[in-house]
Amino acid sequence: MRFRPKLPEHNPNIGRQRPLQDFLVLGGGILLIVGLIYLLLGLAIDKAITYISPEREQQWFQGWAPASSPSVEQETLQSLAHGLQKCTTLTYPITVHFMDSNESNAVVFPGGTVLIYRGLLNTLDSENALAFVIAHELAHLQHRDHLRGMGRAVVLALLSSLLTGSHDTGALFLPATELGLAQHSQQRELAADAAALATLDCYYGHTGGAEVFFQSMLQQETRLLPTWFDSHPALQVRLDALKEKRHILGYTMKGVTPLPAALTTKAVAP
């Protein structure tokens, strides 16, 4: 038989090529399942948290927060926090640390530690405004949001590493999971705002100065991206929620108390 060169008419080595359809079906399906598991585990964590007593929680997380050197500011903040704590249901001692840094923020750690940064004091004009921020962090402790957040973060890490077999490729699923985390956290923030407002009303007898922090942040804000992925809701949403809450519960607004002298004396050198 003579050899006759000839090219094959069709190529059976390449299967059906529908990349876009495959991507949507596979990606969508997997995300749906992972999302469902995440949601269920999140609810399970919320349930489990009710079994952890505040005392045990403090025992576990005592050494977590960064320490700070004692200062006049710290003592003032500590006594303010103590006063506010009487208006909450928190039973364990709260420790306030004053951080000498320009960052305009307040952070809460498991185990009852609140960090207040100097930059925050510079944006606030009254003790009431400061009290609202502290009360907000106390509300997080009271609602045990830090435990919920931590539990969800663990579930997230677990799911992504289980799914992909390595922690590197976990970043692939980050977008979708971040969304779920953010939505959950935005609701918790609004709940903390509401609780802080109640604490403020109990401590001062009115809720004046509560919105000062949000207003000052609103002026600095330059946002290009939509808020779905942020852990905190949009400032305007929070301001509106405060206003509504005030109206519903009939909280009054009176003159505010100025910041204690110990907190206004010096600013951080640039």
Binding site: K6, G15, Q17, D22, I30, T164, D168, T169, L174
Partner: protein
């Protein structure tokens, strides 16, 4: 937030450019396969076409490294979770195999046939630790130069070039 944007930009770029690159490559492959059809190749150790005269025998090899685009890599990753044919890698392997054989043929333009061809694949998957997802194909064989015993084969032109 930033991984979200970066991920989709990479995905989009991978999809668009991967598609263009693949289509262009397939077109080049088809043209060259048509052109090189006159040079037969076989994996057997015996001659494919009987020879009147053998002038020269050479070992030739052609190798190629081709990478997959980001989109297809993600698609393959998703596929690896649920299982099934990884069709996004199939075109990669197919292109690489045909390209390697073509490069092999381009190395021995004057030969009348190539026999004893072997094709080897090696994946350069995790070379840099970030899963580049490329594949190397190496084809090697024995090129036979000379005059075939069949008058109608293009070996006539080859013998002319040999004489010149």
């Amino acid at each position: 937030m930033s991984p979200f944007i970066g991920f989709f930009i990479l995905l989009l770029l991978g999809f668009i450019f991967g598609r263009i690159a693949e289509a262009q490559h397939y077109q080049r492959i088809a043209e060259r396969e048509q052109y090189w059809m006159h040079l037969p190749n076989s994996s057997q150790r015996d001659l494919l076409i009987p020879m009147q005269r053998i002038d020269d025998v050479k070992m030739v090899c052609g190798s190629v490294v081709i990478s997959i685009d980001y989109f297809k890599r993600i698609l393959a990753l998703l596929r690896s979770i649920v299982g099934g044919p990884v069709s996004s890698y199939e075109t990669l392997i197919d292109r690489a195999r045909r390209e390697a054989i073509l490069r092999l043929k381009e190395q021995c333009a004057g030969a009348s046939q190539i026999i004893n061809i072997r094709v080897e694949t090696s994946s350069i998957h995790n070379a840099a630790g970030n899963g580049i997802g490329s594949v190397e194909l190496l084809a090697y064989g024995t090129a036979i130069y000379g005059l075939t015993s069949e008058a109608s084969t293009p070996a006539v032109t080859l013998s002319q070039s040999n004489a010149a």
